[in-house]
């Protein structure tokens, strides 16, 4: 296995023992980018220039015997939704082309404090709206396991980069599954933390009450390392939690053996019989449940009747918030401004007409409509009530079980263009991920097998608020018992 395909924590162990250098690791990643990026298109902004220098700097510190963070100098990517001081940040949109933030997102600051070596900003569905990364203004990203297929979305660039060895790990964002679903489609680990665990400051808003940043990584340990770094209270985000951050990475030092012993794992009754559940997904999921059982877990049925409304609720609330969040892109202060408008109103309209893609416009219209006088109670208010109901149903379920297990996505990766003309079908892809966002609870997607045709599948675990440790320990136990995470895509 090449260095660029190796989990970050293992590389760190080897460099500490002087078996390899950070520079060699960085070279391996850069070479991989050279060979596959033309096919994958994982990055919007990619700057190899300073990557080797920063790697050598880490080696210098290592040579002086300094205690180095596992991520110091390691090539890491960021979804292009995070503001990076001095580095163009587009959120996958034409309307932000040329926008260079004067400040770093909280997540970026925290990574920088540990020696971040940013290799690039990854591709995404415009403003994180989408499940395939086809809604990017910068061209679609392709799935490294099959370039005819999408990598999922909206953090598709990030997931593809990690899967293809173009970055060792990275940070994405998840509003309705945007970390977990692409992680499942590309056989990497994706963790959506509890709402409030990671500061949203500097992460460009899509739907403020649902957005949450989190890691995409090669294995559970790498995800835990990154989660620990980016978590914690932030005075600039009033919705961030002041709960102390557990030492997620240390948790795994002693191994996850026995993590599932005599633990109850919930199986959602309402999901089992769904007609939209792909048979290959259902079959693999059944096998994964057996694996969990073999690790000592007791599989218990739980009921979440509110789940059938989750998609409807999500596709009201998220567009409502988005329609407001995206009002600021008006051409007045930054980003795109069309230069052929006869008056202010035309300038607003032309800029937004040319700057936004079709899906973004669709959601702005949906949200604007749902918030309009006379419709607010029927849509927004009702959706909020069902959201609260769903939250309570989850709480009740977690009174009975330790974790809930379900497939990350009802279907495996689909072909490029397949669902572009049918937005409703595209929305259904999020059915199993967005409930966690509505409830604010944490979820993880881990490599959970392959279809007979060789497309990756994900196993998703959900836990109660701020119980990321449970997710990490259980996921690690599953990972140790299965070979899926060791597979790598063969590109070119």
């Amino acid at each position: 296995m090449e260095l660029c395909d190796t989990p970050l924590h293992l590389l760190h162990e080897r460099r500490v023992k002087r078996e390899i250098s950070t520079e060699e690791i960085a070279r391996s990643v850069l070479e991989r980018i050279e060979s596959v990026e033309a096919t994958v298109n994982a990055f919007i902004t990619y700057d190899p220039g300073p990557v080797l220098d920063r790697a050598r700097q880490a080696d210098g510190q290592l040579a002086k015997g300094e205690n180095l963070s596992p991520i110091a100098g390691m090539p890491i990517a960021l979804k292009d939704i995070f503001c990076t001081k001095g580095v163009e940040t587009t959120c996958g949109s034409r309307i932000l082309k040329g926008f260079v933030p004067p400040y770093d997102a909280a997540v970026v600051e925290k990574l920088a404090a540990q020696g971040l070596n940013l290799v690039g900003k990854t591709n995404m569905d415009e403003f994180a709206m989408g499940s395939s990364t086809e809604n990017s203004a910068f061209g679609p990203t392709r799935n490294p396991w099959n370039p005819q297929c999408v990598p999922g979305g909206s953090s598709g660039g990030m997931a593809a980069a990690v899967a293809a060895g173009e970055a060792l790990a990275g940070i994405g964002s998840d509003t309705g599954g945007s970390i977990r679903q692409p992680a499942a489609f590309t056989s990497v680990v994706g963790l959506k933390p509890t709402y409030g665990r990671v500061s949203r400051y500097g992460m460009i808003a899509f739907a403020s009450s649902l957005d949450q940043g989190g890691p995409l990584a090669r294995d559970v340990t790498d995800a835990a390392i990154l989660l620990e770094i980016i978590s914690g209270a932030d005075a600039r985000d009033a919705t961030s939690s002041s709960r102390p951050v557990p030492e997620y990475a240390r948790l795994l030092k002693t191994g996850a053996e026995g993590a599932l012993k005599q633990r109850k794992v919930g199986l959602i009754r309402e999901i089992a019989g769904r007609s939209d559940l792909h048979p290959e997904v259902a079959a693999q999921f059944a096998e994964n449940l057996q694996t969990l059982a073999s690790l000592g877990a007791e599989i218990v049925e739980v009921s979440l009747p509110g789940l059938e409304h989750a998609i409807a609720v999500y596709y009201i609330l998220a567009p409502c918030e988005a329609s407001s969040n995206l009002g600021r892109y008006d051409g007045v202060r930054y980003g795109l401004r069309t230069d052929h408008s006869e008056n202010l109103e035309r300038m607003y309209k032309n800029t937004r007409q040319e700057g936004f893609g079709a899906e973004v416009k669709r959601r702005i219209m949906l949200g604007t409509f749902a918030l309009s006088a006379g419709y607010y109670d029927a849509y927004y208010n009702k959706a909020m009530k069902i959201r609260e109901l769903l939250r309570r149903e989850f709480a009740a379920a977690f009174d009975q079980v330790h974790l809930i297990a379900l497939p990350t996505s009802p279907i495996p990766a689909f072909r490029l263009g397949e669902k572009l003309d049918n937005p409703l079908q595209m929305y259904l892809v999020d059915a199993f991920t967005l409930p966690a966002n509505l409830a604010g609870i944490p979820g993880i997607s881990i490599p959970g097998g392959f279809t007979p045709g060789g497309l990756p599948l994900g196993l998703q675990l959900l836990a109660p608020h701020f119980e990321e440790q449970r997710l990490i320990l259980a996921a690690k136990a599953f990972e140790d018992a299965t070979p899926y995470h060791l597979e790598r895509p063969q590109l070119g």
Binding site: C83, T89, F99, P102, D330
Partner: protein, 482 residues
């Protein structure tokens, strides 16, 4: 004449007053609220609405809202909520204003105003917290260039919405003055009208006298002084009356007051009214207030103008009129009290503070906090009059000196030799001289021409260099001429 034209109307007015809060920093970021800074000097990524930024509430704003809420007998909501008010305008960087909608922090209160000497309660519907927008600066001869200054964007405001309880422009003005008085007493706002610290929008409608149903209303915006509230309302009431008398229905619309032309004009019709698409602000948690904190704030409220006026009437013997005038401005009231504390007679002190001092301050556009002298100075001046050392007329000169230079009145009188001549011996000498110098006039007076008496007084005053005590001169003259 038709019956219609003889119709009597009554006026129904409700005011929405926006008052800028006296916080050091903005509502949702740490930028300074300093006035007149260079354009965009006080603008950070948060108040510029850059992608990815989030608001964090300045808790002083909540404290100020609660102070005003308690002072206006409002019910304080212990879990109020911010909401987004969405609209496009270049001075609004996020395309929404963070405000409050269906869960404002204060509701259902009242204030009392004096109408023709009788108290009248004006209901307060609600008080809510919101952020100000930026400012557009138009430049060039044809005003083709427009710049955006975001120094004001995010400055905290309270919006105070009254019930439609006001029945005349005068009442509206009195009410606005009352709110101004309250916010300055509570120190939640500097109340600086010149800097736009207080602005009002007025809802006005007319209805046939004696009827209950409200007529169609118009809203008049951009009223930023006490004078304008009276002028704008008077104009709008007359406009509506003429429309109604002419048999034309009132059109529900938003109008703008133009102080230069002293008239209102249509800003937008009902059809053009915005749909603000309010919804709860997801970036901010509920504003929760502990009952204990509420008690703490209540305990630290200062004496409010109504209570102070009552005390001035009952303890200092001032008239209701004087007391109300004095307490309107907290700093003036406190200065007055300090003068009394220094031993001055309350009635005389009130006259000086409301008279000569107020006139000077008004002329110089300044306030009692910027005086060159302390309360003791004015008390000393009042004492000099009381003990007869100086006359009322001299007092004006002494006061001018006190005001301009802050010099102690007693020293000033001594230095300038200004003290009044009350010594009967000296005055008798002067009178004898005047009488002997003017035998013709003495004869006239004795012959019954009373008017000449004033001439003698004038001559004595002249001889004394203006220092003669006029009361004593009068008495002595009468005796000598008898």
């Amino acid at each position: 004449m038709s019956g219609q034209s003889q119709m009597e109307f009554e006026t129904v007015i409700g005011l929405e007053i926006h008052t800028q809060l006296a916080t050091q920093s903005k509502m949702f970021c740490r930028c300074s609220t300093e006035f007149a800074a260079p354009p965009n000097a006080n603008a950070c990524p948060v108040c510029m609405g850059l992608p990815g930024v989030l608001p964090v509430l300045n808790h002083r704003v909540v404290e100020f809202a609660v102070r005003l809420g308690l002072a206006t007998h409002c019910k304080i909501r212990l879990d109020s909520q911010f909401a987004r008010k969405n609209y496009f305008y270049p001075d609004l960087p996020k395309a929404y204003q963070i405000s409050q909608f269906d869960r404002p922090i204060c509701e259902n209160g009242w204030v009392e105003i004096q109408v023709d000497g009788n108290p009248k309660r004006i209901g307060i519907t609600r008080i809510h917290m919101e952020e100000d927008a930026g400012k557009l600066v138009h430049e060039g001869a044809d005003r083709r260039a427009t710049y955006v200054d975001l120094n004001r964007a995010g400055v905290p405001l309270l919006e105070i919405v009254s019930e439609p309880d006001l029945s005349s422009p005068d009442e509206a003005k009195t009410y606005m003055e009352k709110i101004h008085s309250l916010v300055t007493y509570l120190e939640v706002s500097n109340g600086d009208m010149e800097k736009g610290n207080m602005r009002a929008d007025a809802n006005i409608s007319l209805r046939p006298a004696g009827t209950r149903e409200l007529g169609t209303r118009t809203e008049t915006k951009n009223i930023n002084s006490f004078r304008f509230v009276r002028e704008a309302l008077a104009y709008e009431i007359e406009r509506q009356r003429e429309e109604l008398l002419a048999g034309r229905p009132i059109v529900q619309e938003t109008r703008l007051w133009n102080p230069a032309s002293k008239s209102t004009f249509v800003m937008r019709s009902k059809e053009e009214a915005h749909d603000y698409r309010y919804f709860p602000e997801p970036d901010l948690p509920l504003v929760t207030i502990e009952a204990s904190w509420l008690k703490e704030i209540e305990a630290t409220l200062p004496e409010l103008p109504d209570a102070k006026a009552q005390r001035f009437r009952e303890q200092l013997g001032l008239s209701a009129h004087d007391a109300d005038l004095l307490v309107a401005d907290r700093r003036t009231a406190e200065f007055f009290e300090a003068v009394v504390q220094e031993g001055a007679d309350p009635k005389r002190a009130a006259n000086w503070v409301m008279g000569d001092l107020a006139a000077k301050l008004n002329e110089d556009k300044t306030t009692v906090t910027d005086l060159k002298f302390a309360a003791g100075g004015l008390a000393e001046l009042i004492a000099l009059i009381g003990e007869g050392t100086i006359s009322g007329r001299m007092a004006k000169t002494v006061f001018d000196a006190l005001y301009e230079t802050g010099q102690s009145p007693r020293n000033f009188v001594r230095e300038k030799g200004l003290s009044q001549e009350s010594d009967t011996g000296a005055l008798e000498e002067m009178i004898d001289q005047v009488l002997s110098d003017n035998p013709h006039q003495v004869a006239q007076y004795r012959g019954g021409k009373q008017k000449v008496f004033g001439f003698f007084v004038g001559q004595v005053m002249k001889a004394s260099g203006g220092r003669a005590n006029p009361a004593i001169v009068n008495g002595l003259l009468k005796k000598k001429l008898a």
